[in-house]
Symmetry: C2
């Protein structure tokens, strides 16, 4: 019996993954994982996803340096969503240079960017 | 210009929604919303989803009584995931009677149910 058999991957072989910051508690991002990404995450303790746009494993931080050390891996009641509780290197999960991808708040009928850019994306990805 | 136009609904007209507890910070559940569900959530301040299994709007708590009062609605950088920050009535989001749907923790190579059942589901849904 393998824990990966309990995960309800969709017809593409993917499962949604929510990443949450272990310290602040903030929801950082939502991405996808395939079986291999989950296996590698559990084995390495570093968050691995499956990039749909690139069609390959995505070791979070491989370009940005903003790796995620995984403290907990959880599964929801339906088995079709995984939660990574992580320590976020650099305190930046979003490619926009913000702590969280959820930086837009609905206020007065519009989305307002309420979280600061902590580091210029040009500096993050120019390596 | 309407805030709903900024949401990247998928080919089914749905967007993933993460619900997080405003008090504990816990990730409670992940579900789906369509345009109408988001509009009603914003208007009413109560979390509304779209139930894929029932094919209709799902006003969270309509059967269980475990409604969610929405304190914040956020959108991620790609526009394809929404975050509801909520006050969870009864402190129970999961149909299993637990605080969160993410009650299974990966430990020693298996999923272990580490969160207590706060109320028997039979009692929640027998109304």
């Amino acid at each position: 019996m393998n824990w990966l058999d309990d995960v309800a991957f969709d017809e593409r072989g993917l499962v949604a993954v929510v990443a949450q910051d272990a310290g602040s508690g903030r929801v950082l991002m939502v991405a996808w994982a395939d079986r291999q990404a989950l296996a590698e995450t559990a084995a390495s303790g570093q968050a691995v996803y499956f990039s749909r746009s690139r069609g390959r494993l995505w070791r979070k931080g491989e370009e940005s340096g903003h790796r995620q050390t995984v403290r907990e891996v959880r599964l929801d009641c339906d088995g079709d969503v995984v939660l990574y509780v992580v320590e976020q290197a650099g305190g930046i999960a979003c490619h926009t240079g913000r702590a969280s991808c959820f930086y837009r708040l609905l206020r007065d009928g519009q989305w307002q960017a309420v979280d600061p850019v902590l580091r210029d994306p040009e500096l993050i990805y120019r390596r």
